[in-house]
Symmetry: C2
Subunit: 332 residues, 2 copies
């Protein structure tokens, strides 16, 4: 059992409230007793109980971050951005992951609410529109990352990103452009897919569903996707991947089969992780301002916590970065 202000009060022969005043730098106390008590508290190794404080104060100064997948470095940078803003505003941050599992996501949100956290940020939710019906959303504000349809959200422009990718490939001369989508159909995965289809159509290329295969967001998803795509009668000449992790998996699988990237097949990623520029060949990809997204979402959440009302969904532009993994298709 840890020591409390009562213990200090006894030792100092004062009342608990005097101790409380001394430790919180409150006015109605003499400088002398204040210093005396502060010294005693330090000596006794007193650490205030956030639990008791939260209970009486009805606020926790802690925000929770629920992220889809710890194993995807995409989220690491976002977390760093959130942390920096939160710490600067005297908030603590706790992170947890739900691994794209709806049940775990719900359980996590519930845990956050049980702790009466001041607010939460969710990145990569698989609940999507059901979010608005989450019962405690008014008591514990939430900001969603990459769910642009939600009013309180910060997202990168996936529609633009996917269009830039497809147009880049078409300009290079590709016609058979495959897409490795995310097996989960959550919002921003869907947006990439739709934008991919739309852009193809706009350029007079018929969408062929056989060129759309499911991956996940890790290396292995890309490997499996390659097996499917290479089994096709007419192999694609370019593969647009859901994200950089997938693209690395795809390239690795292709190289292992003796297929050169980009000479035989072009590959494009999405996200702009560090690994994209360090991989070999370096990935053509869509750069997402992850750290900035983290900062923006934290600022938005702090605004919501303080009761700000005029808050709108933010969409941040993303940018195509052409590197070594794309080239014109081989002449047939």
């Amino acid at each position: 059992m840890s020591i409390s202000i009562k213990d200090i009060a006894k030792r100092a022969n004062v009342s608990p409230s005097t101790v409380s005043r001394a430790l919180n730098n409150r006015p109605r106390i003499s400088d002398e007793t204040k210093k005396q008590i502060q010294a005693l508290a330090k000596e006794m190794g007193y650490v205030p109980s956030a639990i008791a404080r939260n209970l009486v104060g009805q606020r926790s100064a802690t925000i929770g971050i629920a992220i889809a997948d710890f194993l995807n470095p995409f989220y690491s940078d976002i977390i760093a951005g959130i942390e920096d803003i939160a710490i600067a505003n005297n908030y603590y941050v706790f992170v947890s992951s739900f691994y794209r599992d709806k049940q775990r996501e719900l359980a996590l949100l519930n845990t956050f609410y049980e702790r009466r956290l001041a607010g939460i940020i969710v990145a990569g939710s698989v609940m999507d529109d059901e979010y608005l019906s989450f019962p405690h959303i008014d008591a514990m504000p939430a900001v969603l990352i990459n769910c642009p349809s939600h009013p309180f959200s910060v997202s990168a422009d996936k529609v633009l990103g996917a269009r830039l990718v497809v147009e880049h490939l078409i300009e290079l001369g590709h016609r058979r452009i495959a897409h490795v989508r995310h097996a989960h159909n959550y919002e921003t995965a869907q947006l990439r897919l739709t934008s991919y289809k739309d852009t193809l159509s706009q350029h007079g290329i018929t969408v062929d569903d056989r060129y759309i295969v499911a991956g996940d967001e890790r290396f292995t998803g890309g490997v499996r996707a390659v097996d499917q795509l290479l089994a096709l009668p007419e192999q694609p000449t370019a593969i647009f991947c859901f994200n950089d992790m997938t693209a690395v998996g795809v390239i690795n699988a292709l190289l292992k089969k003796g297929i050169d990237v980009p000479q035989d097949i072009s590959v494009v990623g999405f996200d702009g992780l560090d690994i994209a520029s360090f991989y070999h060949p370096a990935l053509t990809t869509v750069q997402q301002p992850t750290y900035q997204i983290g900062c923006e979402s934290a600022k938005m959440l702090l605004g919501l916590i303080e009761g700000k009302k005029n808050i709108k969904a933010r969409i941040i532009e993303s940018q195509l970065i052409v590197r070594e993994s794309t080239a014109p298709p081989r002449a047939e």
Copy 2:
């Protein structure tokens, strides 16, 4: 303000204690009122306050994880292991990072203690031996990952790992073997370095400090290290890197300068991340059982929380995996 058992009690015309009994499936209550109250609680959207529960119960059923760096995927797998064990034992898990900053690490531990968490797991501490003097260690048990000198710790065998690496390179015929160490001299970084030196000496190779340069644990650290090493009058023929991230940075920098890996220079990583096998060339590295380390440390912590006493530091064997980034040195 969220609704409490008092609110439910009023609506049901019973006392708060009856509501508490109903909601916690306690014995002394009739089935009828229990069901009635449970239904009412659900209807009213009641969620118990973990804060109040913790205050009265003096326990939180939550463990905190402090990890050195979110941006290093090495820790992601460890977290997954911890989470799985914790959840299976009805514990919640909150993760936070201190980015190898001693002040932030201390602040984080303090935050954890303020919440009166049941226990903590720290991975990649930069405090090392000072840990034992952390004042609240008895009230909130801690397990350290990769601090083998600490009594409650789970670590991979870095000494063995580094020796396997160096011997592998020596067997291939290398004599000028460089080491990119971590700029922070925390325990397991030190162990790799010492083992590297010892193994060289044991094989009659003089340790040359110019071949030991500092990196960090990210890609960029490897890039900077390469600049230093290539400026040397006699360039090394092999580079043993602190971890896989560093190795990727090193290889990337070498390839950019037109130096082939492994034909011109061999490179070895450490950790056995997924990226090590997906990189191109695939990395020779020391595989660490990250998920298992996570599980073991969680089990150890739960043991400590339950008051188990006969707990000893665990060291888990690591294994050299030879892939494509090492080869005999070029004949001179």
